[in-house]
Amino acid sequence: MPLPQDAVAVEPVHARVPGRVRLKVAGLRGAPRLQRRLEEALPGRGIRAVSASTRTGNVLVHFDCSLPLDDVIAAVARLARAAPGAEQAAFLAAPAAPEAAPCPGSPPFHVCEADEILAGLGSCAQRGLSSAEAAARRARFGANTLPRAEARPPLAILVEQLRTLPVAMLTASAAVSLLTGGLADALVIGGVVLLNAGIGYATESQAERTIRTLGRFAPPRAVVVRDGAPRLVDAEDVVPGDVLALSPGTGVAADARLLRARRLSTDESTLTGESMPVRKDPAPLDREEVPLGDRANMVYRGTLVTGGSGLAVAVATGRATEIGRIQRLVGEARPPETPSQAQLRRLGNQLVWGGGLVCASMFGVGALRGLGLLEMARSAVSLAVAALPEGLPTVATTTLALGVRELRRRKVLVRHIDAVETLGSLEVLCLDKTGTITRNQMRAVALFCEDRRLTVEDGKIGGAPGAGKERSALRALLETMALCNEAELERRDGELEVRGSPTERALVELARDAGLDVLALRGAWPLQSLDYRSDRRNYMKSLHAAGDGRRLVCVKGNPLEVLAMCRRVQRGEHAEPLVEADRVAVETENGRMAGEALRVLGVAFAERESAAAEDGLVWLGLVGLADPARDGIRELLALLHGAGIETAMVTGDQSATAYAVARSIELAREGQLEILDSTHMERVPPEVLSALAQRVRIFSRVSPAHKLEIVQALQRAGRVVAMTGDGVNDGPALRAADIGIAMGAGGSEIARDVADVVLEEDELGVLVDAIRQGRAIHENTRKAIHFLLSTNLSEILVMVAGIGTGLGQPLSPLQLLWLNLMTDVLPGLGLAVEPPEPDVLRHPPRDPREPLLRRSDFARIAAEAGLLGAGTLGAFAAARRLGGPPTRASTVAFMTLTVGQLLHAISCRSAQHSIFRRGLAPLNPTLKLAVGGSLAAQLATPWVPGLRRMLGLAPFGVRDALLVAAGAGLPLLVAEGLKLAGVWRGPQAAPPPTGGTS
């Protein structure tokens, strides 16, 4: 059997430091159970500490220097080998572990002979497994499925909403109110808490549900040989030992070793990122250390057969497959805390402390002044409620949720609610080239025929000189391309369906779209033989014979090699001698097309009576193919650059192709373009990579595995990074990025599951909306916080000043709570749904390390709170001076403060644009409703008997109304005047540091 019993190899990686050794343990990668076992069972008997990594497959052991190194290695090896169910473990002989890794792990199948493997799996190439055996194995190894990433349970979402400090504080306040007899207060406070949690829960669970419904496809099927006959089964019923029949256009259901193959090629891009199909061959390899992408005799689950056919025996199913390993690897990359999470948490904590302090001090002052203790306790609690911006979580969550909903309308699914906000601080956007910037579809875009360059757009050949005419050079070119072609054709519902590699398909489609009946053509000239391109011969040659004995030789391939075989050139109906000038013209055009990063093919043919010598072909022309950039990408990048967001392209292509694409879409903001071309990025020292990555615009020849390194390098440099991806291998990078963006339509399930943002349609344009939304959300959150803090502070000022100066208690506890209800959540919500300010995409992203509120913001908040408080206290003092019952002055104060705060909401709409100038959108309906409704409710309080009694208000006259108007209106005018004068502009307008893009 190819797998020896002690297959667990342990070798030292680093053993220079005494008492410390780093060991490589085969099979540890992606095997968390082995990791746990090593870490738990090893320590003791001289081994002090063990740290195993399932990512690197290494174990770091600290041990007493007296212990011989060999003993340590032996101990690790013993443990790694002995335990039951070691992922690396064994073939069928091993007992099946109950819960995981049911099939053979990854013995080096690619170096073994196919027969050995078949024997080891108890299978047979001709007969496959018996149905009974298959059923038995299905029971033993479980379904051939990949575990889905865990969905967050609803309860967890709800608990998350309630587990914040402000909520805890509010709950405590409610409890105090209840104990001190303020049932109404407690009810109001409780209502506020439940409202917040409810909104948060509703929005987040709805987002979660939407994501869950994504990516559910019809269950895949697979053709396997059972009882000696091919049979179509559900892919999840495939078991190790099953013989898979591979055909083009189908997915591979399990990791399998090829038994035989006929021109088999597979697209392994989900696994390796290599977008070109890989040719497969069943011959065993001679080396064990071969990257997945080069294991030509293996096919892997999740990859796609693009051409040819083959038989393969399944060696691993379900979680034991390579794709399953990657999924487990993904589980370990942790996302960093998003900026909003961190900042709201900090701010919330500060406010709780502040609130407690105010509470206590007011209670103390009141007690000193001999006010009733019970009354003071109620006032203090009410003030605490007033001081705490309990609207804050609601407003922040709602802002985000509304953004999520808005984005969903545009087919952008946001998986984590804070991701929208992170989008707003996005600094670097890394884009996949293939599939994201381009469509991943080859298309013929240019032809060179009869000394003329013809451009092809949407399948139409521009300025075609008589494509329809019999015997024109162009016609012959199209026919030859369609004949000398591997693509398979099928007529379905009147439409000609083309299957095959992207290039071959593009050529047939070009001929089809030009009006050729390709099926009839192939019928008239049946294929006799086909010579494929080889290492020494860069062209493909096909031989066709018509019924009347005429023969046709068709050649397409490397233009220079094809040209070298030509003696004549087709012009119109005639073949003329090919002269030096013709060659130069073709070579020049070839160079030009190559310079435009096109894939260029030369086409030639010969019609002859018999299959004679192959010289003397007739040159037809060149065809240039490309995977063009999507429409609108350039404009999109310009918008992003205008918004101070840097863009980088990640591609497995060589640099020249990448550069041509980058140039066509103006990837770089300045003329300079940095390319990092690296197939071994892990060898670059991390600090060097971090320094370089900030400048690099193209990462070429990069495998998806390196995307993680790119993301981490940029993050080490302090950047907020977004990364797009769709392949299975993109998972770790998407997870690690501040914003992982999965391209939905063609993407893998795993990419969608780990991403923060899923674009349902593969269009990047919506990303700009998302970023605009993200920035607006941040701004709106700031506006709402600004409003909440300044109004709440004004309440504190009024209360403390009133009590401290002996003016008396301006507001009663219930007035405070009412005030809070009117002027906190509703106007805050109105501000939260403000549309983005017009210039939101014209300034650089904010620094994520910058606090939500800067020092200057606090000064402004204090100043505005002072204005509001002064207005209220002024009106209060004036009303007292003018006489009347004490409730009358208190009523004026209550009205002034409430109206003043509501008017302040209008001022908070923009930090820079004052109401005296145009340039800002009109009030949004929600804000209009919130401010208008609250104002109406407030003005109604003296006239509604129940309310009046509860709030203890006095009758209200014209004199009082004027006082209120002055006390509430003046602060607004002064605040707007300060804005107009540019008092606050300094720190606001200074562009945040962008980290040097030169």
Binding site: A597, S655, L673, E674, R683
Partner: protein, 395 residues
């Protein structure tokens, strides 16, 4: 006063990091000119342990896979060790595309004198050309022998005769002169790298290098060595691996190796990585052409031609000749004849040497070959500035 002195020059092998950078720079120039002979291109490189940095400015119709080309050069040079090789090294490329308008529209070979006059030098630069009768190629003896040794080192490695030899190496030759004529080899220094420490041991390495490299070269040398000639092979001990894994490299840091091994003066500007419209490169060729023809015509035994260019002018503002007292006619007279016989205008030299089309004729290889073993005095290449066809015009 004794007129005897010792003069030493050094050369390096193709694997030396500085020279590796020069070769990559010139391979890029070749690739651009091969596709588009009218390209404007400047390429500079730096290499350290695992990273190659390339900065290229260009205006061209060509599309070049710059990192791919660099890897090809690294592969050709023969770096295969684990620490630095073509496959695993990372290549950081900085491309600046200048407006295509700056690219010339017509090759100089199709321009008349009037138009040549309108191509100004874009630099304020003084360049030198030198020739002397030490060797048949009219090159100074120390650098000539140093190049021969470097070439021999590379040959022995490539042919597999010394399979342990690493790509990185340095050779130094000290020649004793008498009355400015080489008399004897004073000393030879070799710095050779090896892939594996102790294979071969230092003593055997010294023996083999002396036997296989130094002896054959000295055997054919135009100057005798004797019992007092001193030999130093890896005097500081074995050099393991060498190359970018050991020391970093930079384009244009070996200008004396490119020219006369300091025996004649040379400009500080790099020669490699520059397209034909760079006066600091082309001027050096033109000056060598003139100096070599002066010596070949018998006007002097030794001749240094100095050309000084000013910004904005097509031709040099000054042409000076120094013959170190070996002139048959006064230096001023030689200078006068040189001025008349040679077209030192920038466009004129590009036209005369056909510098734009040389890469195309060589199948995409021309400048890269200049980047090792010297840009002047090459007997293995047919360089237009090494022709001695202007004797008649010099009278």
């Amino acid at each position: 006063v004794s007129s005897s002195f010792v003069f030493s020059s050094e050369s390096v092998t193709e694997g030396h990091p500085d020279k590796l950078c020069d070769q990559i720079s010139d391979a890029i120039v070749d690739a651009f000119l091969h596709q588009d002979p009218l390209s404007v291109i400047t390429a500079e490189c730096a290499v350290s342990t695992g990273i190659l940095f390339i900065a290229a400015r260009f205006a061209s119709e060509a599309t070049v896979d710059v990192p791919g080309l660099a890897r090809q050069v690294i592969r050709d040079v023969g770096y295969e060790d684990e620490a630095f090789n073509a496959r695993t090294c990372s290549v950081m490329t900085s491309l600046v595309e200048v407006p295509r308008g700056q690219r010339p529209l017509v090759p100089e070979t199709e321009l008349g004198d009037e138009e040549i006059e309108r191509i100004p030098a874009a630099d304020q630069v003084t360049v030198f050309g030198f020739a002397c009768r030490h060797t048949p190629a009219l090159m100074p003896m120390p650098i000539w022998l140093a190049h021969r040794l470097a070439r021999r080192l590379d040959e022995m490695r490539r042919s597999g005769k010394l399979p342990w030899l690493g790509a990185d190496g340095k050779t130094q030759v000290a020649i004793e002169f008498d009355a400015r004529r080489p008399r004897r080899v004073h000393g030879i220094g070799l710095q050779a790298s090896q892939a594996v420490a102790g294979e071969p041991p230092l003593a055997r390495l010294r023996d083999e290098l002396l036997e296989q490299v130094v002896r054959p070269v000295l055997g054919e040398a135009e100057v005798p060595s004797d019992a007092h000639t001193r030999f130093f092979v890896n005097p500081a001990g074995a050099v393991v691996l060498g190359g970018p894994a050991l020391h970093s490299g930079l384009t244009g840091r070996k200008t004396s190796v490119d020219t006369y091994g300091e025996y004649g003066r040379h400009s500080g500007a790099a020669l490699s990585g520059k397209d034909p419209l760079r006066i600091d490169r082309v001027g050096a060729y033109g000056a060598r052409y003139a100096a070599k023809n002066v010596v070949a015509a018998g006007l002097a035994e030794e001749c240094e031609v100095q050309l000084t260019y000013s910004l904005g002018l097509a031709g040099p503002v000054s042409v000076q000749v120094e013959s170190y007292g070996t002139g048959r006619v006064p230096d001023a007279e030689i200078a006068r004849r040189v001025r008349e016989a040679f077209d030192f205008r920038l466009g004129g030299m590009v036209r005369a040497f056909d510098l734009r089309l040389l890469p195309r004729r060589g199948g995409g290889h021309f400048y890269r070959r200049l980047a090792v073993y010297g840009q002047v005095g090459r007997s293995d290449l047919e360089l237009p500035w090494e022709r001695t066809d202007r004797g008649d015009a010099l009278g």
